[in-house]
Amino acid sequence: NDENADMVPLKNYLDAQYYGDITIGTPPQKFTVIFDTGSSNLWIPSTKCYLSVACYFHSKYKASQSSSYRKNGKPASIRYGTGAISGYFSNDDVKVGDIVVKEQEFIEATSEPGITFLLAKFDGILGLGFKEISVGNSTPVWYNMVEKGLVKEPIFSFWLNRNPKDPEGGEIVFGGVDPKHFKGEHTFVPVTHKGYWQFDMGDLQIAGKPTGYCAKGCSAIADSGTSLLTGPSTVITMINHAIGAQGIVSRECKAVVDQYGKTMLNSLLAQEDPKKVCSQIGVCAYDGTQSVSMGIQSVVDDGTSGLLNQAMCSACEMAAVWMESELTQNQTQERILAYAAELCDHIPTQNQQSAVDCGRVSSMPIVTFSIGGRSFDLTPQDYIFKIGEGVESQCTSGFTAMDIAPPRGPLWILGDIFMGPYHTVFDYGKGRVGFAKAA
């Protein structure tokens, strides 16, 4: 109920961070911040942060040493998982490049619990999302840059350098684009929901094969503050299977495929919508937009009585999509059932990375996103993180799973893994996002 408390995702900053410098105050106090299109506030540690160890390892803002400081004092809290960054709003001049944003409102963090910020290379976060998700309805730095006429065009663009041998991290351009850092034309799509930079996305293909899950459209956000690429479990399971990433072995999933697989296939062959199949066979109830668990008693294969719970309903919905995807490839029924059963071993843990075999990276498939009618390929070199060299190297997939229910979901979060290969333009004036091959 605290209007100043709000939720901003804390992301995998520690996996691969991109950050830059700003200054606050007069004379300028320097801070290293993440330029984050997935949030909308500016916060940095305060010199009045006494009880959080993280504050002792980072630059802190000292209001008393700034002649341009203006007291505000409104409390602010940004929650993330088990903890929260909290503090209060202050106003001061913020310098980004050589632009000075006068009397910018920002959060002086007086508490930064947890280990995450302790080890972070950055001091704070500069949000570049829309005001709609700004904690305390604070006007974002970018809004002030535009409203005060400090930039020529109301757009900014990101280039993230994914070349591991190049020390240059990348570049953010306020007011335009840098032609050196992209090839060809940008493909623009409208922002569909202001808050995050959210847009509509089409179906995803694995090795040229459509997954079908987003055939009727999904939402996606372009998020510079997250390292990875997050999507619905159903599709991430298919990717995991294709790249050999292990997941949870789901008993419910196997039971559904065993017990209902053939019936589901028959329904799908009868042109039934995959989203309705599970309600049709009684595993889920269909409310018109999404399936919900029936919560009734049933007898599973091993003879034990079990509850047809949400897990089975979810598994059934996933299996229906997998089967439909195989049906469009004209696979045999036996092959389709075997494929669905195999996928039951690859269901990802929500929001966690999966290990993969480094030796298989070169044979992993291209994953293709469809945005604005154009295909955007990600190669294994784009989506696999490799740590170390030689026999000691370890590889993890950059794809993680997270399920957001309709109407907001299904949702993809396209983080640095996508924004690395694709130069991204955030067009605030025209309310659109554009992608072009990075150079």
Partner: protein, 44 residues
């Protein structure tokens, strides 16, 4: 830098994935535990 074309360019630094920060990431995920939820993540 202002480039005479009305744009302002900020160079970004990067930090690569390594064993130490991966460990921190894992600890973070572990700490986050069951309190994290997509509902809150997306402010629904």
């Amino acid at each position: 830098e202002r480039n005479g074309d009305g744009t302002i360019r900020i160079g970004l630094k990067k930090r690569k994935l390594d064993r130490s920060n991966r460990l921190a990431s894992q600890l973070f995920l572990k700490n986050r535990g069951s309190h994290w939820s997509p509902k809150h993540y997306f402010r629904l």
